[in-house]
């Protein structure tokens, strides 16, 4: 039995309807089921959830050059301090030869965190003449403690072996005299020695609140920075401003997206609908890649995402304009789609590659939020090319099997 051409066409049409139907359902499922995982996994920048960005500059002391080793050690100390703050994913890295960048997101009180970070935390015990008796280098442990009456907070110190010996000698030599406890050149208390202390235990009690005692204990436990740092650059964002920015920009982004979708549908009709489907796929793709790669979404990053949607739409527009032209030349729909794509390919490729150059330079140049912007933009450019040249193309071809009505293509 041979099938007629008519039957053949009908079969092809039904297959295409089935494919398109399946794709739309798959797309809906994809968008629905990836939404939560993406939202949970995408990393928000400090401008969207509060946090801090600090650049520390090592202060060179006379005769003491700042080496790569000093910076590495400092980073170790800073990491320990930051961990005690309970930040989930701190980012601490060297910049140039004598700088350290610290980026923490999700800190409730970023100003207080900066206070802890910036201290050198050089602890010293001085006698009356200002001679250094023992330093924080010989500490084994430091713990905050509330006095039994509950009012006063203090920090208990425990020296290591050498420290205990030095401290025993120092207290023995200074009975009846005060010993000053000095942190970064500032005297925090100067208790009088009643009797020699041989067991390596000491106590600092100033006028601490419980929080201050906690912070001091953290500083002393993590040890002193091998060199002093000054703050070159500091940006802190409170959590409420962060979440406001997130809400605002998501709202603005969604409205912008909706406007584009409606415009495409109204102006380009059927291909516009295809473009809208590809936008959904595109959005899932870009956000998914960002979540997978651990790219940080920043406030300008959201702007970049929305902009790159415009860019992705542009790829579609270029293709449709080519197809329309081919249709006007009298080609059949399928032939018009095929040659439209061939002609559009290099246009899109060249145009997007030059844009990518700008984005790449921006990645190299930028820090923090700006880098986030450039990375998002780059991912967007690549993804938009992929979606337009594959998904959009096949969707159009399948749609062409269903209906040959040129009016639906705006011609």
């Amino acid at each position: 039995m041979t099938r007629t051409r008519r039957e053949d066409k009908l079969l092809q049409k039904n297959t295409s309807i089935a494919i398109i139907g399946a794709i739309i359902v798959a797309l809906a499922f994809l968008a629905y089921f990836t939404y939560q995982p993406i939202m949970n996994n995408i990393k928000l920048g400090l401008d969207l959830q509060g946090g801090l960005h600090v650049v520390l500059q090592a202060q060179e002391k006379e005769g003491k050059k700042v080496s790569a080793d000093t910076i590495q050690k400092s980073i170790g100390v800073l990491e320990e301090r930051v961990n005690s703050l309970g930040v989930s994913e701190p980012s601490i890295y060297p910049q140039g030869n004598d700088r350290i960048v610290i980026e923490l997101a999700g800190v409730d009180d970023p100003e207080a965190a900066v206070d802890i970070i910036k201290n050198t935390a050089q602890l010293e015990f001085w006698d009356e003449t200002g001679k250094v008796l023992v330093t924080g280098e010989n500490l084994k442990d430091a713990q905050a403690q509330l006095s039994s009456s509950g009012g006063e907070a203090m920090v208990n110190l425990e020296f290591d072996k050498t420290g205990a010996k030095l401290f025993a000698e120092a207290t023995a030599a200074n009975v009846g005299k005060p010993i000053a406890i000095v942190l970064d050149g500032k005297t925090i208390s100067a208790p009088t020695v009643n009797e020699p202390i041989p067991n390596g235990q000491a106590q600092i009690s100033g006028n601490f609140t419980a929080k201050e005692a906690q912070d001091l204990a953290v500083l002393l436990r993590s040890g002193a920075l091998p060199v002093s740092f000054s703050i070159m650059e500091k940006r802190t964002v409170g959590p409420s401003l962060g979440s406001d920015s997130l809400d605002f920009s998501i709202k603005a982004g969604l409205m912008g997206l909706l406007a584009i979708l409606l415009f495409m549908l109204g102006y380009y009709r059927l291909p516009g609908l295809v473009a809208d489907f590809s936008m959904v796929l595109y959005s899932v793709l870009v956000l998914g890649i960002m979540a997978l790669l651990g790219v940080v979404l920043t406030l300008p990053g959201i702007a970049a995402f929305v902009l790159s949607i415009g860019m992705a739409v542009d790829a579609n527009i270029i293709i449709y304009e080519h197809i329309k032209e081919e249709l006007r030349l009298g080609k059949t729909l399928k032939a018009a789609i095929e040659s439209g794509f061939v002609r559009a390919f290099w246009t899109i490729f060249d145009a997007n590659l030059t844009t990518l150059i700008a984005a790449m330079v921006l990645i190299w140049f930028g820090t923090g939020s700006i880098k986030g912007f450039a990375v998002t933009l780059s991912i967007g450019i690549v993804a938009s090319m992929l979606v337009a040249l594959t998904f959009t193309r096949y969707m159009l071809v399948w749609f062409a099997d269903i209906t040959k009505n040129n009016k639906l293509y705006g011609v």
Partner: protein
């Protein structure tokens, strides 16, 4: 449309914008943010009934800062000062909390003066590198005349946007640099799409004059040009209206730059290409 024949007017228009911008740059310069000058920017939320003057007077009473400017927008107050350290910032916050009600420190930025000049230098280098790379790429894929016309057009887009920022004294922060590079990226995209069409038409060209071919190419891509700028502007407008104040200036720069960049792709880059071609032919 006779784009190429009218190029004199387009050149004059761009020249006026550029000259106005340069005059403004000399007269009043740019409104540099603390990213470049060094200093501190504190952003507080307070009762909206408090006036900027009240805050300024209060801050002056604290005797913490050498200079302060206070800008108010709704319940948000922006305090720009000389560079403050952690202690001074904390004292400022404590002082304001004592004096006014419902005070919260929303964000605090401090930048040392040295970092500012580094950003400025890196920005210029970045823009230069981007332009050179584009020139190379376009020369490789098209030909040198296309690349030169595109890059010259881009450079004047950058000049005009910088000039407008000077004229209107919009704040120039490190976001501005990102905006400029993005504008470069988008404008080159527009230019390439038109040039791509010119290249295609040149391949199948018979006896057509270059200027009519250019006009035809511009018209053939006009739909795309308009629609693309529309789809990019839509989200920018919603970001401007609802996106909060943090990235407002960034979005303004993009809006201005994209519109002028699109105009330049048609009315500057194509005529420039024509003139370069004519000159090298004669």
């Amino acid at each position: 449309m006779q784009f190429i024949e009218r190029r004199k007017w387009f050149y004059i228009f761009s020249s006026i914008l550029i000259v106005a911008g340069i005059v403004s740059l000399f007269m009043q310069g740019l409104n540099w943010s603390i990213d470049f000058t060094g200093g501190s920017l504190l952003r507080y939320k307070m009762d909206s009934s408090i006036s900027a003057d009240q805050v300024r007077n209060a801050v002056n009473e604290f005797n913490l800062v050498k200079e302060v400017s206070v800008q108010k927008s709704g319940d948000e107050f922006y305090l720009r000062t000389n560079e403050l350290d952690q202690e001074q910032t904390a004292k400022m916050t404590a002082g304001l909390k004592e004096k006014f009600t419902n005070v919260t420190l929303e964000s605090a930025e401090s930048v040392g003066a040295t970092i500012g000049s580094e950003i400025a230098r890196n920005a210029l280098i970045a823009i230069g590198i981007a332009l050179v790379l584009m020139l190379l790429y376009i020369t490789f894929r098209f030909e040198f005349a296309f690349g030169l016309a595109a890059v010259l057009s881009l450079a004047q887009v950058v000049l005009v946007v910088v000039g407008l920022f000077s004229i209107f004294q919009w704040e120039v922060s490190s976001y501005f640099v990102a905006a400029i590079l993005t504008i470069i990226g988008y404008s080159i995209n527009d230019t390439i799409v038109i040039f791509d069409r010119v290249r295609e038409n040149l391949r199948t060209r018979k006896k057509e004059e270059l200027h009519t071919l250019l006009n035809r190419s511009i018209m053939q891509t006009m739909n795309r040009s308009v629609n693309t700028v529309l789809t990019v502007l839509m989200p920018l407008v919603t970001l401007l209206l609802f996106g909060g104040s943090t990235i407002k200036v960034f979005v303004i720069a993009l809006l201005v730059g994209f519109i002028y960049g699109m105009y330049s792709s048609i009315c500057v880059a194509c005529p420039l290409f024509y003139d370069i071609k004519q000159r090298s032919a004669s």
